[in-house]
Symmetry: C2
Subunit: 205 residues, 2 copies
DNA sequence: TTGACACCACTCCATGTGTAGTACTACGTT
DNA sequence: AACGTAGTACTACACATGGAGTGGTGTCAA
């Protein structure tokens, strides 16, 4: 029988995220989720039909938890609209994602698993596209310097910087990482030539 | 007894890379390597004491195979030293890495596995540091525009772009990816302010 | 009383490890 | 030319782990 208790389902998905980050995609089993969630063996089997279901839903759950929320979003609208403000926001972004390391690592595991599961790849592609588009729109709506290409380039570099921080934390010192964020914004916003071709989200305007 | 046949050992490591990319770090077992390499079950057991040994040596093997070689390196020294040349070289770099997708994916799996294995983390940190430092030195020696920070920022963004291409190929169209590389170089090389703090390799000069 | 759920138990099955043992081949020795 | 030895390829087995799926029992509330 399929169980529906929403709190328990969310708790199981949170446990799945931890398992993904700690054991990898292949370590994500019903039993592992049960153990991580501290529930009796067999519980996850009653909530999800198969592993694929857990994988896709766990991906959605990560984005749920990374959502900064309305309040934070609104507060982001405040303040000056200059390059220094962008720098500050990028630092915040990196810190916010790094504060939920298992979420980021779980998404990476899901990406790698997506190379083997076409369905998961579709789902993830949609989610990531929505994330990128949102970042572009948000950036434009707040009237900050830089176009859609700028946002995508920032997103690319910051993502790998976070990956570096979480997987090989000793490669860069914390101050170096901070300086890299600052330098990235400074240089990408130094001038703003027209993009050679629209990136996703440009067309949306 | 430990076997030493070097060709067979290399073949087993190549098989391990494929297994890492296809099955994930947790799927890397002696038997899986045997199957992938097309050798009888038990062979890998005779060449490696445990899984950890395979993991670390497979990482080294990837870098071996990604090495462009002396000839290509020397030819890179040719040509003009302007921004357009950097753009072309960055396109080549992306294509070269993407041409060995399982190698890149295997390294990603190893990074994730490194979060669970301190020893592997040390090894990988050293390898990646050497790679970054080499890129910085090479860039400087060829007298191309941009400082060490530029090189690191290029490296960050291009890595994630490659990851995107390999894990979610439908997120960006191929032309978009190409334009992103061009835009990245254009904007990062628009001006060259002094770095706020040295990055690894700066001190080496 | 009924239904939904937490919890428990049990069977079936797949897979891997480590190692012992056999067979083949090359090479040097007598 | 016959033999012995070392290194390697290949095979087989004993042992252990761990997961999937499912059926059943107890509990609580409507």
């Amino acid at each position: 029988m399929v169980r529906r208790n929403p709190e328990r389902r969310a708790a199981l998905l949170d446990a799945a995220i931890e398992v993904l980050a700690q054991e990898g995609a292949r370590g994500l089993t019903f039993r592992a989720v049960d153990r991580q969630a501290g529930v009796p063996a067999g519980t996850a089997s009653n909530y999800f039909a198969n592993r694929e279901e857990i994988l896709t839903q766990a991906g959605g759950r990560v984005y749920e938890r990374l959502d900064p929320g309305e309040a934070a979003l609104a507060s982001g609208l405040q303040g000056p609209r200059d390059r220094a403000r962008v720098t500050a926001l990028m630092h915040d972004l990196v810190d916010r994602v790094a504060a939920f390391p298992t979420g980021f690592l779980a998404l990476l595991e899901l990406r790698l698993e997506a190379t083997r599961r076409p369905h998961l790849r579709e789902i993830l592609t949609e989610r990531v596209r929505a994330d990128v588009d949102f970042n572009i729109s948000y950036h434009r709506e707040t009237g900050r310097p830089g176009d859609a290409t700028t946002v995508v380039l920032l997103w690319l570099a910051l993502n790998w910087l976070i990956l570096e921080r979480l997987t090989l934390p000793d490669l860069f010192a914390p101050e170096q990482r901070g300086d890299l964020v600052t330098a990235l914004v400074d240089r990408l916003l130094a001038d703003q030539p027209a993009p050679t071709r629209p990136v996703p989200g440009d067309a949306a305007q």
